[in-house]
């Protein structure tokens, strides 16, 4: 299966995870570890950037669900940004826009975190 990788950068209190490639059942653990690391470091304000993500499977979607409760309980959130139409459709079909805030760009998502403070 095709490759998947992530990169993380911090901007103030917000951590941005950028996804690249194919996120499926086999590559999902990589993203899971990213979330675990951020939670360990008490960084609960997370923006996930989708602009380089080519594909996401149901197991990939599951990763977001796995940690959202814990993050929200810690007064944090996962905000999604920069999705292509194709990826957005997958999220939309499952009703994710009703569960997560989805933004056009990372900046908007980060802005939302800083505003809500």
């Amino acid at each position: 299966m095709a490759e998947f990788s992530t990169s993380i950068k911090d901007q103030g209190d917000v951590s941005i995870i950028n996804l690249k490639g194919y996120l499926d059942a086999h590559t999902a653990p990589i993203l899971e570890n990213n979330f675990v690391d951020l939670i360990d470091k008490n960084r609960f304000q997370i923006v996930v950037g989708f602009k380089d993500l080519a594909y996401i499977s149901s197991a990939g979607l599951g990763v977001f669900m796995a940690y959202i409760e814990k993050i929200r309980d810690s007064r944090g959130d996962i905000k999604l940004a920069g999705m292509s139409d194709k990826v957005y459709n997958i999220f939309d079909l499952l009703g994710f826009p009703l569960l997560y805030e989805i933004f056009k760009s990372e900046d908007e998502a980060i802005q939302k975190f800083t505003e809500s403070k």
Binding site: A2, D24, A25, S57, S58, A59, L61, G62, V63, M65, A66, Y67, I68, E69, K86, I90, L93, L94, G95, L98, L99
Partner: protein
């Protein structure tokens, strides 16, 4: 003998020994009576008791050091040289120091008595040491139980010595002679049993040959020089005649033992190399066969390897490191703390001295700057590469403590063994991989079997309604589920769902949702009501990261109405009058959110059915099927094929879609299950129509 020796406390024995020797000393100097039989009897009695005590004490000390036979032989050599020098020069030196010293030998003053006694005591200790060394040599590599001959020899040597004192008159001389002859016979018998030579390597055998000639010569010289007629013999005899006799017997034993040793070694030399090699081969073969039997469990195998490595190389500790993601990981450590092994690893591999070695390499830890941080005094390290397909996968490391270092033949042994270990580990890993692969395949077989049993065996038949369904499983079960429920004579329920994840876990969730929909469809009619209940159950039973997308519908045949709700699933498509409409009522996937949020966002759609309506429900396996350029089959292509065949039978339509999807994705593996269900509202269709043409 051993029992007695082990019972004696070493501090106590030292006190007893000191008291005995001191009393001997005092007795000799202050109670000396010339030509008194009773004086000499008591004197010799003291000597004998002291000698036995001293022997036990020395035995204890030597046992503690546990010297090798070569060490013992070397010590005996040094002592012999010392005896030789003392015998030759003692008279001259004493005469130089004290005028006419040796002439006063039979009538000593206080000063002479003291010097004689000290002289005597030196030989006293030497004799005991020689005796104990001989005993250790005799018992080395021999069955410890068989000490009868040795004890018998000691007894007769003792008897010979004592009878020399009491049976001095010529007519009783034979008693002494008899004991002497028996002693000599026993000495010869005991000397023949030199079993330890076979166990030493060729190099040691050669040096032993040379040593034994020198020592033999010294023994013979000392024996001839210590007759009763010269100064040395007279001094000993004056102090204790029986001891002098015993000393000579020990020298005799030495002479005989070393002459036998010389010849035995000589005969062993030609076969030494062959013996070395054979011994190594035999032991390696034994170990190798042991490795083969443990190949099934990698962890156990690693432990056996370190265990055997310490034995093969007589190392104090050993461990294995394996390369894993660029790091070196210790997988088994024997007799060494992980911290110590880690430190030594850092020294060996970070300094680069052992990075690219072709065979076993011996390194010294003396250059290790952080040696003081080790909890034990490790000194010499032998590092062997563990290879597979000419690539170094890890290292087998053995280490010795203190000043013991690894020699060339240890290196050969470790190297041979590490080759075997590499092969065994390689096999074990391959085996583990193939077992794992087989296990996964079995698991997927089970998952596919579960899925096959869960899905409907054939399409149901209803009045005014034709149904055709196609299901194509992916290799890794994708978790698609669909079903039909005959709720009453006029009402038909249907469901299509996709479980997140793959394989056996997806299959189990499928089984759960089948149960949920089977029972809910009998209790609740409203599609929205059913999905709300299903969400409630799944929210609490599923893992956070698992969820299910579903679409549930109900057809009221009498009212000619269709109701459906969608929980995160692909939309339903309605083909009517040559047009395709996509229905995507709002709805969140099952198991993703709480009741209220779910209910608030769930819509229910109602469609008045018209003759010839086709309702198409499917999973994303169709629209996301990919060609070799990784393009999706997509909604457009899908809708177009549906429209092109809208007026055909349901079976014809499903056939066409599947044909096109298969054609499109022929160069790409199918990663997800494909499910397609078409329901046609067809009033001309009655029970009579035969269900054929299924794919």
């Amino acid at each position: 003998m051993n029992y007695l020796y082990s019972k004696v406390n070493s501090g106590l024995s030292l006190v007893i020994l000191s008291v005995l020797i001191l009393s001997l000393f005092i007795y000799r100097i202050f109670f000396f009576v010339k030509d008194s039989f009773w004086f000499f009897t008591l004197n010799d009695l003291l000597v004998i008791i002291s000698f036995v005590a001293l022997s036990f004490y020395l035995l204890k000390i030597i046992r503690k050091k546990n010297p090798s036979p070569s060490n013992l032989v070397f010590n005996i050599g040094i002592i012999n040289a010392f005896i030789f020098l003392v015998i030759i020069f003692s008279e001259k030196i004493l005469n130089l120091l004290f005028e006419n010293f040796s002439s006063r030998i039979s009538n000593p003053g206080l000063l002479e008595s003291i010097i004689y006694t000290i002289y005597f005591l030196i030989f006293f200790v030497i004799t005991a040491y020689l005796l104990i060394s001989f005993k250790e040599l005799y018992f080395h590599k021999q069955n410890r139980g068989k000490n009868t001959y040795f004890i018998a020899m000691l007894v007769f040597m003792g008897l010979t010595s004592i009878t020399g004192l009491f049976f001095t008159s010529p007519e009783y001389k034979f008693v002494n002679n008899t004991f002497l002859i028996i002693s000599i016979i026993l000495i010869v018998i005991n000397s023949i049993k030199i079993s330890w030579i076979a166990f030493i390597v060729k190099k040691e055998k050669l040096s032993l040959l040379l040593l034994s000639v020198i020592i033999l010569t010294l023994f013979i010289l000392n024996l001839t020089n210590s007759g009763a007629e010269n100064f040395h013999g007279e001094v000993l005899k004056n102090i204790s005649p029986s001891f002098q006799q015993f000393f000579n017997l020990i020298l005799l034993y030495g002479a005989i033992y070393f002459s036998v040793l010389f010849f035995t070694t000589l005969f062993h030399i030609p076969t030494a190399e062959a013996y070395d090699r054979k011994a190594k081969e035999v032991s390696s073969l034994q170990y190798f066969s042991k490795l083969i039997t443990e190949v099934l469990d990698f962890k156990e195998l690693a432990e056996t390897i370190t265990d055997i490595a310490t034995k093969v190389s007589s190392a104090d500790a050993s461990w294995i490191v394996l390369k894993q993601n660029g790091d070196l990981k210790i997988i088994s450590n024997k007799n060494i703390a992980l911290l110590d092994a880690d430190l030594i690893n850092q020294f060996l591999f970070e300094s680069g001295i052992c990075e690219k070695i072709a065979e076993t390499k011996i390194c010294n830890l003396n250059k290790f700057a952080r040696k003081s941080q080790l909890s034990e005094k490790y000194g010499s390290v032998a590092v062997s590469p563990l290879r597979s397909y000419n690539e170094i996968k890890g290292y087998l490391i053995a280490v010795r403590k203190n000043e013991l270092i690894f020699y060339e033949d240890d290196k050969v042994a470790i190297n041979t063994f590490s080759d075997y270990a590499s092969v065994a580990m390689e096999n074990s890993m391959l085996l583990e991989q193939s077992i794992e692969k087989e296990r996964l395949e079995k698991e997927l077989d089970v998952a596919r079997e579960i899925q096959r049993k869960i899905l409907p065996a054939k399409d149901p038949v209803f009045n005014n309604l034709s149904i055709s369904s196609v299901f194509i499983p992916a290799f890794e079960v994708g978790g698609d589920y669909y079903d039909f429920f005959e709720i009453s004579k006029d009402k038909v329920g249907f469901v299509i769902a996709d479980v997140s994840g793959k394989g056996i876990s997806a299959a189990f969730i499928m089984a759960e949702i089948k149960g949920i929909f089977e029972s809910l469809s009998r209790m609740i009619e409203s599609p929205k009501g059913i999905l709300v209940k299903a969400n409630h159950i799944l929210k609490s039973t599923l893992d956070n990261k698992n969820f299910v997308s579903a679409l549930y519908g109900l057809i009221d045949i009498k009212k000619e109405e269709l109701y459906f709700s969608r929980a995160g699933h692909c939309p339903a498509i309605l083909l009517r009058d040559g047009k395709a409409s996509t229905f995507k009522p709002s709805g969140i996937g099952l198991g993703l959110t709480n009741d209220k949020h779910f209910i608030d966002n769930l819509e229910e759609f109602k469609v008045e059915l018209k003759q010839g309506d086709n309702l198409i429900i499917y999973t994303d396996g169709i629209t996301e099927a990919k060609n070799k350029d990784l393009e999706d089959f997509g909604d457009k292509r899908f809708t177009q094929i549906l429209l092109n065949n809208a007026n055909e039978s349901v079976h014809k339509i499903t056939n066409e879609v599947i044909k096109e999807v298969t054609l499109f994705s022929r160069d790409h593996t199918q990663y997800d299950d494909i499910t397609l269900v078409i329901l046609k509202w067809d009033k001309k269709n009655n029970y009579m129509e035969i269900n054929n043409g299924r794919v």
